[in-house]
């Protein structure tokens, strides 16, 4: 069907775009236009679509021809892509042609892909166009002499899509290729199996009813033809892996699989051409199909978590509109640097982290925070790369680009987990070798035994033993569960950055929470201010406090930040978790806890509002003012704590804050165990004491000032604080505002380990039962194939239950 290119010719069917036969005069009336269709079927469908009020389908598909009722394509804006540098960066360049992949934003359905293909094929010099509506990607090849890259991009932009050329490494991600190959193999295996099964039913029926030899021979020949690609194409990864295992002297489960498939196929071919007793083409195709299916499902689970990080990077546009003075130019995002000013239109993704210079809009930050509601942002607000500008036109000053952005950091952290393999999986891998060798040994003994007892049955029985005992279930049991758990957690906005985290979390007995920035939002405000020194105004105090706190990374310090011009501070010194001291105009100021500021503060600390944290300001040892700083609780704190209680875990509050504030919060939340005014050192001691008590501690904290505390706990969970995300060493990161994911993670880890144990138990029991039956000759090869595959499918499906966990 090359008619897509002919598109709007009058001779093509309005609905299916195929040529209308000369003798056909069918017409459909769509929104007042009489359109030719090619057959009653198309007519019926078109009318149905019209009558159900979905003509929008056609208007989406049939957006107007380029040039009709639209401004001419703004090629100039895209011209930067015509340079040799850009071609080299974004396209695979041949001697006279170039080929590239373009991400097409705003593409919704099959009709869009049709429209894009039709439009691009009308441009001169275009060799081929392939659009995938699922991945929103467009593959285009053009002749350098006749067409320009910019013209293609401009044509797409003019249709109302947002084209983004993808650099080759983005376009062909290895896991995508792997998945495509696996899907092809699965298709070949399944089609082959269906066909061979059909013939096999004939053959078996024939055995009972009598079948003439010609017919039998014919069916066998056809089965042979269909099985061959299944063995040599679909099953190829097994042979390849078996060979690699042999070369590395670490035979894996692919070895018995390969021996079984290879020998059964060879024996069947031999029987086919010598009119032998039996053929096993059905068993071979079934075995290969189920193995491929099991692998495919496991791979899907594994990839789904990667998909998410890939989705993260896909959200980042490849180009941005940079404003320099009066001129605008489209540049690749990779060329943006901090300080650039970029224009962001409604519907565009934000290309880098930055601050809005002008304009206001609402942005969708779901990707980064899980918050589905649009967030209002205006001049001066921070916006993060990867969020989407929903309605306004804004100009943004870039602050961070590429891997330094919040988005880049999240992607990098989720990559990290992939490189730490759970200890569990490593052990399973190591054991698998020995199991395989043992199984091959058993198969050899069985073969030898039957060779002497009943030589004619030796081959079939050995084949069954090899197939039925294939330790696939054993090999899949653990990785499938971890993969499914990881992908589900990432959907629940929990980013696992350490492969061992799930296992460690499942053993947790105690959850310790940090206070500021963890139980609270970490966005403190000054609620009230009491000035004790009559020579100072409130404003003076605020200025001095702001100046001193610039040095502190403590979350409470944010409450003091001001955009006024601040007094100059010298000899600034930060006492972590306590306060800051510094010299202003020759006088020594201290700001921080009562203890830090000095004895004078203790009396003044008798604040009426104990719910807030008191911060004291003193000069040369005399108390000048105190601030009540309050930080709102995160949503769902109470629900989270009671859920953890119900799980039977102990909770504790460990904070560097003053006693009143901590005690008050602990009482309100019903936490019996609380520790206040802790230095990082003290927090670590508390954790270690619990650990000596055989407790397994989960530390929930941002770790901004106390990274060693997170490292000291058995598992650490950190809420994501945009800017400081990159420094986090936590095993698990919560991306949203709510604290509830902590409970989800704990429950999920328990469930995961339960499923791992179930899977292992099942695999061992199955193999232990099946082996003797097969060795005794009770299991024909086709039944062995079903048994083996059923056992590994059970394991995979059991693991996939985790992907519905909530």
């Amino acid at each position: 069907m090359t008619t897509a290119a002919k598109g709007q010719d009058t001779g093509t069917c309005f609905h299916c775009a195929l040529p209308v036969p000369a003798d056909c005069d069918l017409i459909v009336d769509i929104e007042g236009d009489r359109r030719p269709v090619c057959c009653p079927g198309c007519k019926a469908v078109a009318e149905l679509i019209r009558d159900s009020g979905m003509s929008r389908y056609y208007s989406l598909r049939d957006a107007p021809d380029p040039g009709v009722g639209r401004p001419p394509a703004k090629t100039a804006e895209w011209q930067v892509f015509d340079s040799e540098d850009m071609l080299a960066a974004f396209a695979e360049r041949g001697s006279d042609h170039a080929e590239t992949t373009i991400y097409v934003g705003g593409m919704y359905c099959a009709a869009c892909s049709w429209l894009i293909e039709t439009t691009l094929k009308k441009l001169p010099g275009i060799d081929s166009v392939d659009v995938s509506p699922v991945t929103h990607r467009l593959r285009v090849r053009w002749r350098l002499a006749d067409a320009r890259f910019s013209a293609i991009l401009a044509a797409l932009a003019q249709l109302g899509y947002q084209p983004q050329p993808l650099a080759p490494e983005n376009a062909t991600r290895p896991e995508l290729i792997e998945q495509r190959m696996a899907l092809k193999r699965l298709l070949v295996a399944s089609l082959g199996m269906m066909q061979v099964m059909m013939f096999a039913v004939g053959l078996y029926a024939g055995e009972f009813q009598g079948i003439d030899r010609d017919m039998q021979h014919f069916l066998r020949l056809v089965s042979f033809v269909v099985t061959t690609p299944v063995v040599f194409y679909a099953a190829r990864p097994f042979f390849a892996a078996a060979w690699r295992g042999l070369v590395a002297r670490k035979p894996g489960m692919d070895l018995p699989v390969s021996i079984a498939v290879g020998s059964a196929y060879a024996a069947s071919v031999y029987a086919t051409f010598t009119n032998g007793e039996a053929v096993w083409f059905d068993s071979v195709t079934m075995f290969v199909f189920f193995l491929t299916l099991g692998r495919f499902l496991e791979m899907r689970a594994r990839h789904r978590s990667i998909d998410r990080s890939a989705a993260l990077s896909a959200k980042l546009p490849n180009t941005a509109t940079r404003i320099e003075g009066d001129s605008k130019s489209v540049v690749p995002v990779s060329q943006l640097i901090a300080g650039d000013c970029v224009l962001i239109r409604a519907g565009d993704a934000i290309p880098a982290d930055g601050i809005i210079e002008s304009g206001s809009t609402s942005v969708d930050e779901a990707l980064l925070t899980g918050e589905a509601r649009p967030q209002l942002k205006s001049t001066g607000d921070l916006i993060a790369a990867g969020s989407v500008n929903l309605d306004g036109l804004i100009e943004m000053r870039v602050t961070r680009t590429g891997g330094d952005t919040t988005l880049g950091t999240i992607s990098r952290l989720s990559e990290r987990a992939r490189y730490t393999r759970p200890a569990f999986v490593t052990i399973a891998d190591r054991v698998a070798s020995y199991i395989v060798i043992a199984l091959l040994g058993v198969a050899a003994i069985v073969a030898a035994f039957w060779y002497f007892v009943a030589p004619e049955r030796a081959f079939v029985i050995t084949l069954s033993v090899l197939v039925v005992t294939c330790p696939c279930a054993l090999a899949l049991a653990t990785p499938a569960a971890f993969a499914a758990a990881g992908s589900r957690l990432s959907q629940l906005r929990l980013l696992v950055t350490n492969g061992n985290a799930i296992e460690a979390l499942s053993r947790a007995t105690t959850v310790m929470f940090d206070k500021t920035g963890t139980l609270t939002r970490g966005m403190p405000e000054i609620k009230s201010l009491m000035v004790l020194d009559s020579s100072m105004t409130e404003h003076d105090c605020r200025l001095i406090a702001a100046a001193l706190e610039t040095a502190s990374a403590h979350p409470l310090a944010r409450a003091f930040s001001m955009s006024a011009s601040l007094p100059k501070v010298s000899r600034q010194h930060v006492e972590v978790g306590q306060g800051v001291s510094g010299t202003i105009d020759g006088r020594r100021w201290r700001i921080g806890s009562a203890q830090f500021v000095g004895s004078g503060a203790a009396n003044g600390g008798d604040s009426a509002n104990t719910a807030a944290t008191n911060v004291f300001l003193a000069v040369d040892g005399d108390l000048v003012a105190w601030f009540d700083v309050e930080d709102e609780l995160r949503p769902d704190v109470a629900a989270t704590l009671s859920a953890i209680d119900r799980l039977g875990l102990r909770t504790a509050l460990v904070s560097g804050d003053n006693q009143n504030a901590v005690k008050d919060l602990a009482m309100r939340l019903g936490i019996a165990d609380f520790y206040s005014e802790c230095t990082p050192q003290r927090k670590l001691e508390i954790i270690e004491a619990a650990q000596r008590n055989r407790e397994r501690v989960v530390m929930v904290g941002d770790g901004i000032n106390d990274a060693p505390v997170l490292a000291g706990a058995d598992t650490s969970i950190a809420p994501a604080h945009g800017a400081l995300l990159a420094q986090t060493s936590a095993d698990i990161i919560m991306l949203g505002e709510s604290l509830l994911p902590v409970t989800t993670a704990i429950r999920m880890s328990g469930k995961t380990m339960r499923i791992v144990r179930q899977n292992l138990a099942w695999a061992i029991v199955y193999n232990a039962l099946a082996l003797p039956l097969a060795a005794a000759g009770f299991v024909p090869p086709w039944l062995a194939a079903i048994g083996m595959s059923a056992s590994s499918l059970i394991v995979v499906l059991n693991a996939l239950r985790l992907s519905r966990f909530d």
Partner: protein, 237 residues
């Protein structure tokens, strides 16, 4: 049982690589599932696509059972017609093959008659669009099986010649299963798929013709192999 095998195979191949036309016609429908859905959520559409296809195939199978029962009645009523009918089904497979290979449309008049039936069904289908839930998708699939389509009609004729309700249903089932890959893979580049199909169309047609010729030859082979209980195996399904 053996008798029906080539028919099943022919029906399957017909469905699998049947016609670029059907693809063009129904590919848009998969688009319809997506029109109202947000781009991000492809996954919820998968159960809907499965339900829709299941419904469609069930309809085909039902139609197959109906026409094959009719065929059965005819064969029973008229003595000595069984052999000519079997010959006719072989011939029919060849014709379907020609249809697929060269995009011929023998059954255009029947399509017009089918369109009349569809007129009665369309209002029900309208109520199911846009497809927003799995049951709706199933319902739409059940109705979609009745769309006027020459290819379906020719395979239905084939089903009728089995003169056996079960075999007739199976023939249509095989055809429906054959159409699944194309319908499911519409998400993949539409042009790539249809280009692939049109390239394979000639080959598929020839393959179907070959199966038809074999079907024609089988009774001959049987007779030459000696007397065989043909009536027995016909009921063996």
């Amino acid at each position: 049982m053996n008798e029906a095998l080539p028919l099943l195979a022919a029906a399957f191949v017909t469905g699998l690589l049947g016609s670029a036309h059907c693809f063009g016609m129904c590919a848009g429908l998969s688009g319809l599932f997506a029109v109202n859905a947000s781009v991000a959520s492809l996954r919820p559409q998968i159960p809907m696509a499965v339900a829709y296809n299941t419904g469609r195939i069930l309809s085909y199978a039902f139609l197959g059972i109906v026409v094959a029962s009719l065929g059965q009645t005819v064969v029973k009523a008229i003595p000595n017609i069984a052999a000519p009918v079997r010959f006719a089904s072989g011939l029919l497979i060849v014709i379907v093959g020609l249809q697929v290979a060269f995009n011929w449309r023998f059954l255009a008049p029947v399509e017009k008659a089918g369109a009349k039936i569809w007129n009665h069904i369309a209002p029900a289908a309208k109520g199911l669009l846009p497809v927003t839930s799995t049951p709706k998708a199933l319902g739409l699939g059940l109705l979609w099986g009745w769309l006027p389509c020459g290819l379906v009609y020719s395979v239905l004729l084939l089903a009728a010649t089995t003169a056996n309700a079960v075999n007739g249903g199976l023939v249509m089932l095989a055809f429906g299963v054959g159409t699944m890959p194309a319908m499911i893979m519409t998400g993949i580049s539409a042009s790539k798929l249809s280009r692939f199909m049109s390239r394979k169309q000639l080959g598929a047609g020839l393959l179907i013709i070959l199966i038809g010729l074999l079907t024609l030859a089988m009774p001959v082979m049987k007779f030459s192999a000696g007397p065989d209980d043909t009536t027995h195996s016909q009921h063996s399904m």
